[in-house]
């Protein structure tokens, strides 16, 4: 078949930034203006403000990692200050120690020390992550609190780390012969680090790997079914966040030229989290806003509150805590969305490259090949037998419907077939291989894809991006290529495939709309497009026609007939009799967990047991 040509023909000519006056305020121009302001700041501003900006930049780097971890990934860490400490102490020890072992002498200057610090941090983060990330989300923060406290006490007690009085005499950074020994000079390095970190984070989020990360918050079950390794995605963002913090610590040590334990305690870690929340967890640039607000406010409150209360102490924490509670109650997205409204920068609509090479496709199985087979499947829940000795099979190039009255055990059967649940006895074969006990990710690899009875989408992402998650397994580009934009050719192919599937199911008009803005019926169709984007040979659809209008049902029916013509095997669980009877090749009827009839739609409709048990009950 000539799929490539057909794809090119149906692709819409969408895309391109809008022209006109608004383009002056494109995000690129705003960024250029921001960099220009930063570049001249050290020339114009007095020392005090430069120092403040240096600290804001350092804090923003740490907060940026938390934006990725907390705002995007839905995880959090209170141990970020400890990672800052690892970066700072590593370089402090390496660059000041007089007695380094011979094998470590090469690392006795700032740049190699940065490398060592990042390596140590990544190792610690990998260990902590592998301990906690497989557990429920709240174990990571609790684990990081414990890690943060332990490390803080280690810093304070170990002799080689200078104890509570710390280490001094850290040399300045030497950048190609330029010695950065003044605040005005290291300013450039700090903000360059920050901008690079922010831009690479933004790139990362806008990629195959980034969609997997963005699916962590509220879409893990779906993402796993699309073949995404969610544990790996969690680990990726945790390690990245830790390394941002360590790099900030390295800069901090060479800015201060002195380290002691106090800036690396758990309470400072909490402050970084506050910055991410205030700025807008989930907004890359919000990290800078949040770091700015908290740092400046802290400066101001530390001057002002002790005068009000007539006592000395860190009273700003009272205000910060209350502020956080109010923000989480009233404006959970933080300040960045409010700021973004003031400057209406035009986002660019995603360009779909219609000339991108189509993704490779797997060969479809020959018509008539048995794709999925359930043999004597029984599933018990305690005393309840939800599926009893069920047998069924689906062939390539046919549509099989599984029907039955409410409570017949259809959904349980669907779970056995899709690998979500494991049968008590019996087995499920997919292309001859048993899938019992395999996770949904492995099953996605084999070429089975599914929709969900209760729609599982990422409502804030566009229709295009949601469907692109379906094509996750058809790409290979990983974290670093994504962050550095070496993935664009593959990304164009993935987006083209997603656009083609959206077009195919008839949602082209909504390509760039937020998925959550679609009507329920359209969301179900979107799920089919997402499943198709994975290039499956078997499609499992759980009540795809529910919530659809007549015309939409007819279009869905046509689509399924077309897919059948291409050799796909389709199994659907459905309630809508008219829809099923006009469309499918064979029907399996269940009641009380058992198969009571199987055959052509016409035969089944005349079967007295079916009439009595199912249709008779409805009439």
């Amino acid at each position: 078949m000539n799929a490539p040509n057909r794809q090119a023909a149906v692709l819409p000519a969408v895309g391109g930034a809008r022209s006109g006056a608004a383009s002056l305020l494109s995000s690129r121009n705003i960024l250029i203006a921001f960099v220009a302001v930063l570049a001249i700041a050290p020339v114009l501003l007095p020392e005090f403000y430069i120092t403040l900006l240096n600290y804001i930049g350092l804090a923003a780097m740490v907060a940026l990692g938390l934006v990725l971890l907390t705002g995007v990934g839905g995880l959090t860490s209170f141990g970020q200050a400890a990672f800052v400490g690892v970066g700072a102490y590593t370089t402090a020890v390496l660059t000041t120690s007089q007695a380094l072992p011979a094998w470590l002498v090469w690392a006795a200057s700032p740049w190699p020390a940065l490398l060592v610090g990042l390596l140590i941090t990544a190792t610690v983060a990998l260990i902590l992550g592998s301990l906690t990330l497989r557990l429920s989300g709240h174990y990571l923060p609790l684990g990081t609190i414990a890690w943060g406290i332990s490390l803080y006490f280690m810093f304070g007690t170990m002799e080689t780390l200078g104890g509570h009085s710390g280490l001094s005499g850290i040399p300045p950074i030497n950048l190609f012969g330029w010695v950065l020994d003044e605040g005005r000079e290291i300013f450039y390095l700090i903000w360059a680090f920050l901008l690079v970190a922010a831009l690479t984070t933004e790139n990362l989020l806008d990629s195959r790997e980034g969609r997997a990360i963005r699916a962590l918050k509220g879409g893990m079950v779906m993402a796993e079914a699309m073949g995404v390794d969610t544990s790996r995605s969690r680990m990726v963002i945790f390690v990245i966040a830790a390394m941002h913090a360590a790099a900030a610590g390295w800069l901090y040590a060479h800015l201060q030229r002195f380290v002691n334990p106090s800036p690396f305690g758990v309470h400072v870690g909490i402050e970084y989290l506050f910055m991410a929340v205030v700025g807008g967890a989930g907004q890359v640039w919000g990290a800078i806003a949040g770091a700015g607000v908290i740092t400046i406010l802290k400066q101001w409150l530390q001057d002002w509150l002790p005068k009000v209360f007539g006592a000395s102490g860190n009273f700003e924490t009272i205000i910060f805590g209350l502020m956080m509670v109010v923000i989480l109650q009233r404006a959970r997205d933080g300040l960045w969305p409010l700021l973004a409204k003031l400057v209406p920068a035009r986002g660019t609509t995603r360009v779909i490259d219609a000339t991108a090479e189509p993704l490779p496709r797997k060969a479809m199985p020959a018509a008539g090949e048995v794709i999925l087979e359930a043999k004597n499947v029984t599933r018990r829940f305690g005393g309840l037998v939800a599926n009893n000795d069920m047998n069924l099979h689906v062939e390539a190039g046919e549509i099989l419907a599984l029907i039955g009255p409410n409570g017949a055990g259809k959904s349980t059967m669907f779970n056995q077939l899709s690998g979500v649940d494991t049968p008590t006895s019996g087995e499920v074969l997919f292309r001859g291989k048993s899938i019992a006990g395999h996770g949904s990710r492995e099953i996605a690899h084999l070429g089975m894809s599914r929709s969900f009875q209760h729609v599982r989408l990422l409502p804030k992402m566009s229709v295009l991006e949601n469907v692109a998650i379906g094509a996750h397994l058809r790409g290979t580009k990983s974290v670093l290529p994504s962050a550095w934009r070496l993935d664009r050719a593959e990304e164009a192919r993935i987006l083209r495939e997603a656009a083609f599937q959206i077009e195919r199911v008839g949602l082209a008009d909504f390509m760039h709309a937020e998925a959550g803005s679609l009507a329920l019926g359209q969301q179900r169709i979107l799920e089919i497009a997402r499943a198709l984007a994975s290039d499956p040979c078997l499609l499992l659809l759980d009540e795809p026609a529910a919530g659809l209008r007549l015309k939409e049902k007819q279009a869905l029916g046509e689509l399924m007939k077309k897919l059948r013509g291409e050799g796909m095997a389709i199994l659907l669980v459905e309630h809508d009799m008219d829809f099923v009877m006009g469309l499918v090749d064979r029907v399996v009827v269940m009641e009380f967990g058992q198969k009571i009839a199987e055959g052509l739609p016409d035969e089944v409709q005349k079967n007295p047991r079916v009439l009595e048990a199912y249709l008779g009950g409805v009439e």
């Binding site: 709240h138 174990y139 609790l142 406290i149 918050k217 509220g218 079950v221 102490g313 205000i319 989480l328």
Partner: protein
């Protein structure tokens, strides 16, 4: 180390472990019913000890004014909601609790002679601090009660940070140690057991038995257990999750404050001591998987004993040892769990 020292260390460990056990039970309870990871639990301990100390010095503690302020604020919120057409049922009763009760308590404190018996002081401390629990739930958690565990956790941390700052404001940077409940000493072989240690262990045990009776026998206790298992189911049976939340916070505050009163004579408590004490309760609660009460209590005793032995061997590293204890626990838990779950 000889056997005598080991016995003394174990005895110390069990005493502090008993307090950690109370806190761990409260933490498991709060998490089960409301999904809140209750970081401020430790602040109730510090507030309890320091409020008691201030009462003993004949001063009116600042926590009283915190109670008045939170009460007035809660009353304002309820009033605004009622004016906007919200529920008016129970408004009078809630005004009684939020405004009249704190003011009456303030009047009582000013009217009473400064010197009182230790039991009266403890009762006053509880009367001031326990109502902070449900008020805190009302003001901070109830508006985000349907949020994710993560949002609730950040709220907890924010409250913790505020409470530490307020603690510094109310009590100052100086630590306090209150006189013991009893001066009795018992000798068992080489061991000397102080009356206060007996108080701590007996009171903790009594409280655990009381809680068990409450959850096993009383209707409210059963309703809380039902809420922990299935929030919506409990709601459909007519048990309001808001009420469940407030009741849970009453219990958590009570346990925290009582723990503070009990340990105040044993160790010097500062305004920020609560955090570490609460976290040790957490270590125990994590050992119980944030779900099992008996395992959490046993874990708490382990934490207490480990702490007392490590402070003998390497006192500088005792916190490191205690918090590293959760690592093997996490390893074990992560090896036994494979489930991919959606955030609530």
């Amino acid at each position: 180390m000889d056997l005598d020292i080991a016995l003394i260390l174990t005895q110390d460990g069990i005493t502090t472990g008993a307090v950690y056990a109370l806190l761990a039970i409260a933490l498991v309870l709060v998490f089960a019913v409301t999904r809140v990871i209750f970081i401020p639990q430790g602040e109730y301990v510090a507030y309890g000890a320091l409020t008691m100390a201030m009462l003993q010095q004949g001063k009116v503690p600042g926590t009283l004014w915190l109670l008045v302020a939170m009460g007035v604020f809660a009353a304002l919120l309820d009033g605004v909601r009622a004016m906007r057409g919200g529920p008016r049922v129970g408004l009078a009763a809630s005004l009684g609790w939020t405004v009249a009760y704190p003011l009456a308590l303030a009047a009582l404190l000013y009217a009473m002679p400064a010197t009182q018996s230790i039991i009266v002081q403890a009762a006053l401390t509880l009367a001031i601090l326990v109502p902070l629990g449900p008020l805190m739930y009302r003001l901070a958690y109830q508006p985000v009660a349907e949020g994710s565990v993560l949002v609730l956790l950040i709220v907890s941390v924010a409250i913790h940070v505020s409470m530490v700052g307020l603690g510094l404001l109310f009590f100052g940077a100086e630590g306090s140690r209150t006189p013991a409940f009893s001066d009795a000493q018992f000798s068992v072989g080489a061991l000397t057991i102080s009356g206060q240690q007996v108080w701590v262990v007996v009171a903790s045990a009594a409280l655990i038995v009381g809680l068990w009776l409450f959850f096993d026998r009383s209707l409210y206790g059963k309703a809380l257990r039902a809420t922990a298992i299935n929030r919506n189911g409990a709601r459909l049976m007519g048990f309001s999750p808001v009420f469940a939340g407030k009741l849970t916070f009453v219990l958590a505050a009570f346990i925290g404050v009582l723990s503070g009163i009990l340990i105040a004579p044993l160790t010097t408590i500062y305004y920020d001591t609560g955090f570490l004490i609460g976290l040790k309760g957490f270590v125990a609660a994590i050992i119980g998987g944030l779900a099992s009460y008996p395992i959490a209590a046993a874990g708490a005793l382990l934490v207490g004993v480990l702490e007392s032995f490590s402070s003998f061997w390497a006192s500088a590293y005792k916190e490191v040892f205690v918090f590293t204890l959760i690592i093997p626990v996490l390893v074990w838990r992560s090896l036994t769990s494979h489930h991919i779950e959606e955030d609530e």
